[in-house]
């Protein structure tokens, strides 16, 4: 079942949660809604589920206009961040619930329900805990039960609201992979909300990056990572160094570095005073190189403030000569080779092609 979202807007009082959202989700895709807290991603998901009503616009499910405030009778699976398991029912009853409450005519027999529930519990690897109550389970187990409960009604659309948000990093990673595998098996159209870019990149076929109630970019994980549509997307999808530069006579000045203004592709407000033309420059930490002497690339002096050698890469915090603080990531080999120490003066360089520049000040 494909989902088409037309011009959805939603306000809470004076706060605009969603501003004219248009989105098309093809059948069988696993789409991630990615954005910082408060960007409206959960609201959008709840509107799709029918738990919230939009002020304007509509949601269509495969041509069928679907704009009722409550979703009775629709086959939508919704997984909540805090699991929302029924506390007074055990695991089996929770999973069987959706099947038991169906009208008598379309209800399965008791034996069939039992079979179905156990096959689902097997799928989520919870068979051995079928008589436990939610209170006796760990977070990861609860979320798997919640998924089984949702899958029991054979949903045509699966909606997941930060499903792994409340779990610890390891369990999260495990469940992420498991979800991906599950989706490959059952191929139900799925939307999941997350604020974790890594999660979105790893699981989704398509990523929708949202900010302040608007869609910033829609694309495959590769597209949004390598061809970000805006400074916000670049900034959100990984660690960045952010510089504020001035633009003067076709050149960008950041601190003591000056560079050619890369073509004239970015439109600057012509009305603004020549001196006030500003640009925000982003650069990923792993694209910075550290040397003990200046080299042919654009380089600048910096002082090492802090070194963190735990992890796959060495993280080095630096203070540029003009006062901005910068983070660089280099390999352990390089780190050993340079024998870097705290308070050392070094030269930092980067490839101009790797810069991401947007006009105006952005924080």
């Amino acid at each position: 079942m494909s989902i088409i979202i037309h011009n959805i807007s939603k306000k809470f009082g004076a706060f605009t949660a969603l501003n004219n959202i248009n989105l098309n989700i093809p059948t069988g895709h696993l789409v991630a809604l990615l954005g910082p807290s408060g960007c409206g991603k959960t609201t959008l998901l709840r509107i799709i589920a029918g738990l919230e009503t939009a002020d304007t616009g509509k949601v269509e499910f495969e041509g069928d206009d679907y704009f009722s405030p409550v979703v009775y009778g629709k086959r939508i699976g919704f997984v909540f961040q805090h699991y929302a398991l029924f506390r007074h029912m055990n695991v089996f009853e929770n999973v069987a619930f959706g099947l038991r409450v169906k009208p008598r005519k379309s209800r399965l027999s008791k034996a069939e329900i039992k079979d179905r529930v156990f096959s689902l519990l097997r799928l989520v690897q919870m068979e051995h805990l079928s008589d436990h109550y939610p209170g006796q389970l760990s977070g990861g187990q609860r979320q798997r039960v919640a998924l089984a409960r949702v899958l029991a009604i054979e949903p045509k659309v699966l909606l997941l609201d930060e499903p792994f948000g409340a779990l610890d990093a390891r369990v999260r990673q495990e469940l992420r992979r498991w979800l991906k595998k599950l989706h490959d098996e059952i191929h139900v159209t799925s939307i999941f909300v997350t604020h974790d870019q890594e999660e979105a990149m790893e699981v989704a076929d398509q990523v929708v990056v949202m900010n302040e109630g608007k869609i910033e970019q829609v694309g495959t994980p590769e597209e949004v990572y390598h061809k970000p549509a805006s400074g916000f997307v670049y900034n959100f999808l990984g660690n960045v160094n952010l510089f504020h530069g001035r633009i003067e006579h076709g050149q960008i000045h950041i601190g003591e570095i000056s560079m050619e203004w890369p073509e004239n592709e970015l439109v600057i407000n012509e009305d603004s005073h020549e001196q006030l033309k500003t640009a925000t420059v982003f650069l990923r930490p792993h694209l910075l190189e550290i040397d003990k002497s200046p080299n042919y690339k654009s380089s600048f002096r910096a002082k090492i403030k802090h070194i963190n050698a735990a992890g796959s890469q060495v993280k080095i915090e630096l203070v540029a000569s003009w006062g901005d603080s910068i983070v660089a990531e280099i390999s352990h080999e390089r780190f050993k080779e340079l024998q870097l120490k705290k308070n050392m003066e070094v030269y930092v360089s980067f490839d101009k092609q790797n810069l991401f520049i947007t006009p105006g000040l952005l924080t």
């Binding site: 009775y72 929302a84 409450v101 001035r246 006030l276 006062g323 000040l361 924080t363």
Partner: protein
């Protein structure tokens, strides 16, 4: 973050002050650094708006525990700052406290929404209760009985104790007065009428509101907070018939029984005083009670208890579903549920009391 530096553009003035202000306040509110340094090295000109910005920041920042420091301020700029000292420009005008009419209007505006919600809930409950009486298939099996046990059977001992004490006290207080006139036997009349038409229903309602009203509100509120209600909705189950209707039905079934029981025990409480303190015999006391109680008192008792049952269940359900926030909200809505249901019960009691009193004299 202990410290944050920002460069002020070369001309700080009317044209860009809003942009700079936005940027700085966003940083401060997001990171609340201990010290926020405004670097004036590049600033060549400043106007009144620019100075006002500095004044504004000095008032804004302490709210986040941040101290504003200016560095590299040239003589020209600092003298300009001394010239204009505009503390008041950006500080918002102090709002006048809302007047009588504003308050009243606000109250009614809020009330309007609540009344709407209550009406929707009432119509839902009435519709589904009616429907499930006609069509027993719609009922959740065993749920009404289960709720009746929770609300009714388990409340028996405490209501018995309270009713006994109330009857006891009523008799004791009136005995002292009636004795002076040798009207000992009228203690029976007093206790019987007061218990059956007033104290019995009222005491039962207050006990049930405290015991079960709070439990209903807490249960529903918890389910809202943990998104269990949403989970029900997406599974296509209307929470009103599923959760609320069985409770309303159980309450309406059990409250008259509890009330009659309380009346009986209350009269026995009075009888204890009559026998031990007023030297009456059981038989005359009992005869007097039977002669004074007529169908009217019994009808009053039952009608009142049914009304109270409905009030308690609906108020509890309303405050339960209206919960805002997390665990704290559950506590608040439970308290409101109890307070308001007792309030409404007493209001309804007065109205019904008047109706029955004047109803009898006119007809």
């Amino acid at each position: 973050m202990p410290r944050e530096i920002i460069k002020i553009p070369s001309a700080l003035g009317f044209s860009n002050v809003e942009e700079v202000r936005h940027q700085i306040t966003k940083l401060i509110s997001a990171e609340s650094p201990q010290e926020f340094i405004l670097d004036f090295a590049e600033v060549e000109s400043i106007d009144t708006a620019g100075v006002a910005l500095i004044d504004y920041l000095n008032e804004f920042a302490p709210r986040f525990g941040t101290e504003i420091t200016l560095t590299n301020v040239s003589k020209k700029i600092s003298s300009a700052m001394d010239v204009f000292h505009l503390k008041k420009v950006f500080t918002p005008e102090k709002k006048e406290p809302p007047g009588f009419f504003e308050k009243t209007g606000d109250l009614f505006y809020k009330l309007k929404n609540s009344v709407g919600d209550i009406l929707i809930l009432l119509s839902n409950i009435t519709y589904w209760s009616g429907l499930s009486i006609v069509r027993p298939k719609l009922r959740r099996k065993g749920e009404v009985i289960h709720q009746s046990i929770l609300i009714g059977v388990n409340a028996f001992p405490i209501i018995a104790l309270i009713a006994f004490l109330i009857g006891f006290i009523l008799a004791l207080q009136s005995a002292a007065q009636l004795r002076q006139f040798g009207a000992n036997i009228y203690v029976a009349d007093l206790v019987a009428i007061a218990m059956v038409s007033e104290m019995g229903p009222l005491i039962t309602a207050i006990m049930v509101a405290g015991r079960s009203g709070s439990a209903i509100a807490a249960e529903i509120a918890t389910m809202v907070v943990t998104e269990e209600i949403d989970a029900l909705k997406v599974m296509g189950i209307d929470p009103a018939p599923y959760l609320v209707v069985p409770k309303v039905m159980a309450m309406s079934l059990v409250m008259p029984m509890l009330t009659i029981f309380a009346n009986f025990i209350g009269i026995i409480g009075g009888m204890v005083i009559a026998i031990t303190y007023l030297d009456l015999d059981i038989l005359p006391f009992f005869n007097e009670v039977m002669s004074v109680l007529r169908y009217k008192e019994l009808v009053t008792s039952i009608v009142k208890s049914l009304t109270f049952a409905f009030i308690i269940a609906v108020t509890a359900a309303y405050f339960g579903q209206k919960v805002k926030g997390g665990a704290e909200g559950v506590g608040k809505s439970t308290t409101s549920a109890v307070v308001f249901s007792i309030f409404f019960v007493i209001v309804a009691d007065s109205i019904l009391g008047l109706l029955f009193y004047f109803g009898e004299t006119t007809f």
